[in-house]
Symmetry: C2
DNA sequence: GGTGTGATTAATTTCGAAAATCAAGGTGTT
DNA sequence: AACACCTTGATTTTCGAAATTAATCACACC
């Protein structure tokens, strides 16, 4: 009613109503890659995906090529697709640019703040916070809980940036956030990470609502680097060289790698 | 020999050796869109492309979906593909972020400058400059000349940014440059634009080689905004509302729009 | 015993046709 | 005459199979 020309960016997440199989497959694949269901470096066999998602060759390939452009999947010549590797240097680069670009997005959004913006941010924050403390999430599996929280978390950040006014900036943020989430989730699981950063979210929201741009940006900057460092620390303990795991010789075994 | 792990970003342009038909189709489509051979807003009919490029359905769709992610093509629900529209606001946004991000890339590249970097930049500049003044380009059609110059121009800019050390930054620059080029070429043709900005390139190279970061960044910033304003001025004269042209009613005629 | 070459097998890419979807034109009813 | 519904033709999407390419193994040769 209020703003009919507003076009929501292709933010990913909930079961949106997808018009084509390609679109649906894209979201499912993206979610599975970011959540780690499809681990980094793993070969993506169309046969497996075909059975898992119950679709034909074309939608899978069309979705995969979009993910290639997004950088979540790599396509080696004529040797099929792989989930993109995780590299420490990449994580640092992502955190660096997330901090820079999201800070700018936040700054612009605060300058252009509207009542809708406030409402959306508060709503998103509430949902996330409440989900953390409410025991309802015990009704779902760990993974579902993580997926849900991450969805809320993403939406909270996006709500803050939404009115920045620059489509390109939003797009870059979106891309970086996706990749950043993948790194984080590869290294630390849900309930843990939320505890570590929850009060930063609160402070961030508060500063933003108070229109205290400088403080908000400072908090956001720290928040992003904090999250990246958390991932880095846990990641170093857990997997010394993420890319070495799957890249090496394919274990010599050729045929079916796993069936059931 | 020197740096075997260096991976050239998927910079587009010349007839690289493509391994798959999808890849080849991607480059051809991208080139045709950026150069304006496929005009903004135009419907992309797979049947037409199929005949023009002599490929089947799959490679075309796979390529198109990659361009959708790049923002050069839009996919409306189940109604096929279109070349993305040109909008004034978008041009301004692109110029803004080109200036910011390329400045940062240039700054970092200068800080990390190597001899290879110098050599590549000088080589690229020479090629571009020489092409402008040399009458050889009369051997080709206007369009070929424009294509060639744009290729050199792009390479010159990229050469300056190449050692910035941030893959994500390079990627953003790449994307923005592609889109920026499309806007420029939609409004002003080759020989004209080169005359207007050629001495800026020279000054830019000079400052960069002298390691005068601040001056180089200042020149680059002006250069980018200058180019955008040129496009804007010419564009406003020529096409008052770029997006209105093709969006409107499809002229009521349904069947085959054009055959030969 | 190691190495290079040819044949076999698995996988990916590509095509062409069937199924699904959309847009326009036509028909009938109020 | 206006509106809704159905039919029809064209386009897009999807599938499954053929063609192409890469990988693996076996065998002979050095």
């Amino acid at each position: 009613m209020s703003k009919p020309q507003e076009k929501t960016p292709p933010l990913f997440g909930q079961p949106r109503n997808h018009k084509t199989l390609t679109e649906e497959t894209l979201w499912r694949l993206r979610r599975d890659i970011i959540s780690g269901t499809l681990p980094a470096g793993e070969k993506i066999k169309s046969e497996v995906i075909k059975q898992r998602y119950n679709v034909g060759t074309s939608p899978i390939r069309e979705a995969l090529f979009q993910l290639v452009t997004d950088g979540l999947v790599t396509a080696d010549g004529q040797r099929g697709f792989r989930v993109a590797e995780l590299r420490e240097a990449d994580l640092l680069d992502i955190a660096d640019w997330r901090a820079r670009l999201e800070s700018e997005a936040l700054r612009r959004s605060i300058e252009a703040a509207t009542l809708d913006w406030e409402a959306r941010a508060i709503a998103a924050f509430h949902r996330m916070k409440r989900f953390e403390s409410d025991s309802r999430y015990r009704d779902m599996s760990e993974k579902e809980a993580a997926d849900t929280w991450e969805e809320y978390h993403r939406e909270f950040h996006f709500a803050l940036y939404a009115t920045c006014g620059s489509p390109w900036l939003l797009r870059f943020c979106e891309l970086l956030i996706q990749h950043g989430e993948r790194y984080r989730r590869a290294y630390i699981a849900y309930p843990r990470v939320a505890k570590a950063i929850t009060q930063e979210h609160e402070a961030l929201l508060e500063a933003a609502l108070a229109r205290d741009t400088e403080r908000a940006v400072e908090i956001l900057d720290k928040h992003i680097h904090h999250a990246a460092n958390l991932a880095l620390q846990h990641g170093m303990k857990r997997r010394p060289r993420p890319q070495a795991a799957a890249r090496g010789k394919p274990v010599k075994r050729r045929g079916k790698t796993q069936s059931a």
